[in-house]
Symmetry: C2
Subunit: 272 residues, 2 copies
């Protein structure tokens, strides 16, 4: 972990320039948290906000790959570590920037992961940001606990699910978690909601239907919207270009833009 | 954790009746590890083998829901805890059987999770089993490390991916992890490989194409096969019936059956 000093500032000092901190979480893996983090952040960066992304997934950091900045390095600045600047001027921090190769697994138990998260918050020169999005790994263990503890009062959490019932059960745990640690729930996003066949125009509910709204209703939290399946999402992610930048006129981009603006408004910004 | 005593047997005694232990892992969440675990186990149970499943996902236990036995309870027997008996006589252990409700999040840091895994191996009355499948959570942290340490020499690992490049990066970490902890890699399974539209017969590569084979080749590990997307998979999983039981004559069932038989053969069984 070269470059990580031990003179850690107080968390208050480290994040005093950040206006809103938004956790993107799920409880369940593979529902598209990273895709949604990258694209919510991109929408707000396109609107002129200054945006940062913290990749809190220590074992499976995918933010850099999705932004096309994998292989970049973070350096020690005067006060702390300088984030990597990605597309749209977004400031990005990820353990990927500290690994020798992208194949290297981070075989760490909890205490070391918590230490890393602490460094990511207290020892990074975040500067002035309107929004800091935090991409959390699945589960309700060390990483989300440490993020919540170090950020003190995150502005809110966006909870991501896919429509299947099996996912919903795990995602409901995330809702209860957010309540227990007193993070306001901004709402639920349903990802992978149906595939519209480009040849017939017919929509197939590959992962079932309506799960996100069902949880939102059952758990009494706002429903922010659904994002459809689109093969171009995997393509853009693999190319390292935010989907909303690469495919601005698509149903998925419209859905993500609406969700991002809802979040900004809930946090008191006059976005449109 | 009522019912969990502290007279822990030696790991050797606890698992001496288990012939083969197979870890299903990925590094990445949401690639279908649980679906694959349940259905590989079901194929071998249908062939007459005695099979157990250990759900090592402490934060997001989904095995019970997928087997239709959520809400069951485990009890203290004479020697240790008795697993729940699920479909096809499979013996199942999951933290879900110890939680007051399915919404309850397990907000635990690493050391407690490791303790639980240790109990799941040493203090369970597994009895005689041909195969024990272990469904690991995403990542290369406490849970997989503890499973590997407690099982001493697992027979092998099945590594699951989906076709996208972003997934591949994380899954490659799982391959390196398995090598570092000296677990033989049985091979790679690619899940969600294309959706064949039932109306046109045309296949859409919703998550890209060929990722599993590409990793297998690049990392020099066997490729076990691909499983196509099928809306009936989510449906069967939500209903709690193993897909291979509910839909025996489908391309997905054929693919899973082939993979299960390859695994059994690699472990020295005369399965067909």
């Amino acid at each position: 972990m070269s470059g990580f000093g031990f003179e850690v500032r107080s968390p208050e000092e480290a994040i005093e320039g950040i206006k809103h901190t938004v956790l993107v979480m799920s409880g369940k893996g593979g529902v598209g948290k990273t895709f949604i983090t990258v694209n919510l952040a991109s929408v707000l960066a396109l609107k002129g906000y200054s945006v940062g992304i913290m990749d809190a997934d220590i074992h499976g950091p995918s933010i850099p790959k999705m932004l096309g900045i994998s292989g970049s390095r973070m350096y020690q600045g005067e006060i702390g570590i300088t984030p990597v600047v990605g597309p749209l001027g977004m400031r990005v921090v990820s353990i990927d920037f500290l690994l020798p190769t992208s194949d290297t697994p981070v075989i760490w138990r909890g205490p070391l992961k918590s230490r890393m998260i602490k460094e990511f918050i207290n020892n990074i020169e975040w500067g002035e940001l309107d929004f800091l999005f935090v991409d959390l790994p699945p589960g309700t263990g060390d990483e989300p606990l440490s993020v919540v503890q170090e950020l003190r009062k995150p502005s809110g959490a966006v909870i991501v699910t896919i429509p299947t019932e099996v996912s919903q059960i795990v995602v409901r745990k995330a809702v209860v978690f957010a309540r227990q640690v007193k993070v306001p729930i901004l709402g639920i996003v349903e990802n992978m909601s149906g595939f519209t066949c480009p040849d017939t125009g017919k929509t197939y509910m590959i992962f079932g239907a309506g799960g996100g709204e069902a949880i939102a209703k059952a758990m009494n939290v706002p429903f922010l919207g659904s994002i459809p399946l689109d093969p171009r999402i995997a393509e853009a992610s693999d190319k390292g270009v935010p989907f909303v930048v690469m495919w601005p006129d698509t149903p998925a981009t419209k859905a993500i833009t609406n969700i991002a603006l809802k979040i900004a408004k809930k946090l008191g910004e006059n976005a449109d």
